[in-house]
């Protein structure tokens, strides 16, 4: 009995936090989850889920996933190369500090300001577009436009690459020099080392980071919205339009179904990420 009381007394300290999280995180999510299966009068229905997985919404999911995969793998590889260059560059600690701070700052730079800065760069009257035109090659005349999926990918690179650098850097630094030297000592050349030791050891971290980037790209709303004004079907944008009132009345719960779907996808990705990180931690100890 005393133990029970003690347990309760101990738990008291975290109640404020629990209540807050319950109110502002869990309750809304439960509302979304429940609402996804409710029709307009509150009864149970699968029609929302049905609608969310067909037609324009299915297209939206598909586009979002394609966008997110490309916006994860491409910056993943580029970020890895950049991180590796940072780790191995001589310039010592100063270069590394500068690079990390820069990466941290750029990784946080997204949304509306970023969209506008890119519009100023490669938008239809952007500086680089005009410069290219003066050189004889007008990208917009050749069908390129910033306000497309391709444009969104290019803009996403701007914060996804630094994000990748930040998260893969610890893993790269976890590659002990002794491994490389031991491999060399046993006759391995650069390629052998990466193929048999470096690559396999980095792989879980790399995949995990790519998953993180995937989640980041899938959730992103502001940048895409600012760039495309809702013209490209992306799940995040579609969910937003339900709140903007751009939908037929009586279909609000479809937005919740979409939201639920998005959360499910990201949750799965995050679970795989956690597993991969554990494996990586074991090796990179």
């Amino acid at each position: 009995m005393r133990k029970l009381l003690r347990g309760v007394r101990l738990a008291l300290g975290v109640i404020p936090f629990g209540v807050y999280v319950g109110l502002f995180l869990l309750a809304p999510m439960v509302a979304v989850a429940i609402g996804a299966f409710q029709d307009n009068s509150g009864g149970f229905t699968l029609s929302n889920v049905q609608a969310a997985t067909h037609g324009v919404y299915l297209h939206g999911f598909w586009q979002s996933i394609v966008l997110s995969v490309i916006s994860a793998v491409l910056p993943g590889i580029l970020g890895l190369m950049l991180a590796y260059a940072i780790v191995r560059a001589e310039g010592g600690n100063l270069l590394r500090q500068v690079a990390i701070t820069a990466a941290g700052v750029f990784a946080n730079f997204g949304g509306v300001p970023l969209a506008f800065i890119f519009i100023a760069t490669i938008g239809s009257s952007g500086l680089v577009s005009q410069w290219l035109t003066s050189l004889g090659f007008d990208p917009y005349a050749h069908g390129f436009t910033l306000y497309s999926l391709l444009g969104v990918i290019i803009v996403y690179l701007y914060f996804q690459i630094p994000l990748m650098v930040l998260v893969i850097l610890p893993a790269l630094e976890g590659l002990r020099p002794a491994w490389r030297e031991a491999a060399e000592n046993l006759g391995a050349r650069t390629w052998d080392y990466w193929r048999f030791v470096g690559g396999p050891v980095l792989l879980p971290s790399f995949l995990g980071c790519v998953l993180l980037l995937f989640g980041s790209a899938l959730s992103a709303y502001a940048t895409a919205e600012a760039l495309t004004n809702g013209t490209i079907p992306l799940t995040a944008i579609q969910i937003g339009s339900f709140l903007n009132g751009n939908v037929i009345a009586g279909q609000e719960n479809i937005g919740k179904a979409l939201g639920l779907g998005m959360v499910v996808i990201i949750a799965v990705a995050m679970m795989i990420y956690v597993v991969l990180q554990r494996r990586a931690a074991r090796w990179l100890r």
């Binding site: 031991a182 000592n185 048999f196």
Partner: protein
Amino acid sequence: MTTSVLLQDLTRAFGVTRALDGLSIEMAPGELVALLGPSGCGKTTALRIVAGFETADTGSVLVNGKDISSVPASRRDMGMVFQSYSLFPNMPALDNVAFGLRMRKMGASQRRQRAADLLDMVGLAPQARQYPHQLSGGQQQRVALARALAIEPRVLLLDEPLSALDAKVRLQLREQIRTLQQRLGTTTLFVTHDQEEALSMADRVGVMRQGRLEQIAAPDELYTDPATAFVAEFVGVMNRIPGELQPSGQVTALGSTVPVRGHRPDETAVDVLVRPEGLTLEVAENGNGIVTTRTFLGSVTRVGVQLSGDVAVQVDRPSAESAALGPGASVSVSLPGQPVLVATRLVS
């Protein structure tokens, strides 16, 4: 496998610091040479130059008479054991050991067999399928040893391989390494800061200090005949007793005058260096010292004596004769007639 190694006049500087200042060592085939010294003395740098991970500023490394200074590390045919955590974490023990053979394009079944044999040689056959993080420190180092030996290297290089292990494991591994090395007859260079390790394992020990070799000799010679004060104090326990250098070249300390061996400092105020077993001690009413401690070490008892003039010494005596020497006993410590080493007086 009979390989001789010659390090010729190696120098290496890192900025202002001279890590190596003209190091020359000749290693006979099958010999285990230990490089002993405090951290920063250059021993690891020397080893890494032999391995090919560093390049010397001047000087060269010759293996069987051939200069290998320009040969890349991956082609030197030397096996190296690192201080710790050098096993590839993504491979089980067997694949780690077989790695060097894989690089030499040996067939899969052949190299697995050889790796298994080597793991057996170090007593780890049951652990073949285990990953490094599942092995203890001592086991990891044994796998690392097997991995280095798998390629039948001409030279075996060991970079403080036992430093990261605890005492008991260290002792076991010491024996194992020495036995294996002798059995295979591989010329070996072993770097350590632990003098006990070096003395017990090596054919010859090179004591290094600030990039230079102070003395290289068999362990017993190092102990009984240290060439310099540094070597004398680094190897074994050494007493420092204040004394006066006489114009005759002899030194006066503890009331007697004895000949001087080796280098003679310029100053007259010096310290005499004597081993604990090199002092004589007698119970005396008005002696020059009081016993402070008595430590039983088996057949020998180490007696700590506080001499007049704030000098403390340790004297070793047979335990059978040390019963009366409890703390507080008045004793007399003196120098027997043998020549002693002297060094510049340390101001503490």
